[in-house]
Symmetry: C2
Subunit: 138 residues, 2 copies
DNA sequence: CATATCAACTTGCAAAAGGCAAGTTGATAT
DNA sequence: ATATCAACTTGCCTTTTGCAAGTTGATATG
C-alpha cells in the first residue's frame, strides 16, 4: 500500500483540481501567451515578457500537454519549429483569465497597469473570450 | 543600481499581477477555505483538507495580509484566537473562484469531483458569489 | 502553587523545485 | 567544412517546501 506523505490525494475540490493543472507561477503565463498574445512556438513563449527560463518552459509545456491543455504539432512550413496551441480544454480557461484580468484591473494601481488587454476585456468581455476560443484549431 | 536577476519587474500584465498575489499552490486554497468553507482561524485553515503545513500557512497568511486580501483581528470571545477574514479585495476573487470551479467541473471526471460547491455554482452562480461577498466584514 | 492545555506560530533540517549558463541535435544555408 | 537556428537538455547552485519538534502566554486543573 502506498503511503500518503501529504501528496495530492484528491479531495475532489474543484479549486484544488485546477491548481494541479496551473497552480504555479508560470503555467498560467504560458497559457496567457498562447491565448492572449498568440504565441505559438517555443521561442515566442520563451520571450513571453516575464522571463521564464528555458528548462522551466520545457517542463511546463510537457505538463500542459500531458494534462491536455496544449497540443504540439510540427510546423508544416518550418521543419525546425513545433507549433504549440491551446486545446479546447485550454481555451476554456478564457473566462478564468477574463476574471483574473478584471480583478487585477481593479486592484493594480501601478503605472503601466492599464494594458490593452484590460481595456479589451472591460469593453467587450465576450469578444475577448471568443477571440481566444477562435484560436487556430489544433 | 539594482540588478534585475529576473525578479518580477512589473510588465503591467494583469495576469502576472494577480499571480504575484496568489500564483502558487497554496494561496488560493487558503482563500477558498475562507471564502467557501468559512474558515476563520489558523487551526481551521490548517485543517483545510489539502494538508498545508504550518510554516507555509503562516507565511501565506502574512503575504495575504501584506497584499491586503486578508485581515487579522483578535477574536473578542477567545483571547487565544485570531480571526482571519477576507477583505473586499479578497472577496472580489469570488468570480475567479467561480470560473475556476466551473472549469474544473467540466474537466474533472474523478470519482468525487461533483462537489456541493460545484453544484451550487452551477445552479446559482450569483448566489455563490454573493454568499462570499456577504462574509463578515472585517 | 505546579502542571497541563490550547491556539498560533517559529525553527531546523533534509528534499524538491527553480534559475542560470552552457551544451546538444539535426537539417539547411553559406 | 562551417555556421545557423529552434528546441531542448544538463549541471550546478540557490531558494522554496515539507515535516517534525519546539516556543509562548494566558487560563484551567489538581
Amino acid at each position: 500500500m502506498k503511503k500518503n506523505t501529504n501528496q495530492t490525494y484528491d479531495t475532489g475540490c474543484p479549486v484544488a483540481f485546477a491548481l494541479r493543472m496551473f497552480g504555479d507561477q508560470w503555467t498560467l503565463l504560458v497559457i496567457r501567451d498562447m491565448a492572449v498574445k498568440g504565441a505559438r512556438t517555443y521561442s515566442e513563449l520563451l520571450d513571453g515578457g516575464e522571463g521564464i527560463s528555458t528548462n522551466i518552459l520545457a517542463q511546463r509545456l510537457k505538463q500542459l500537454e500531458e494534462n491536455g491543455l496544449v497540443s504540439k504539432t510540427r510546423d508544416p512550413e518550418n521543419w525546425r519549429s513545433f507549433l504549440y496551441a491551446l486545446t479546447d480544454k485550454g481555451r476554456d480557461l478564457a473566462p478564468v483569465l477574463a476574471e483574473i484580468i478584471l480583478w487585477s484591473g481593479k486592484y493594480n494601481h501601478g503605472d503601466n497597469a492599464m494594458t490593452d488587454t484590460l481595456q479589451k476585456v472591460r469593453r467587450d468581455r465576450s469578444g475577448f473570450e471568443e477571440s481566444i476560443r477562435n484560436g487556430a484549431v489544433p
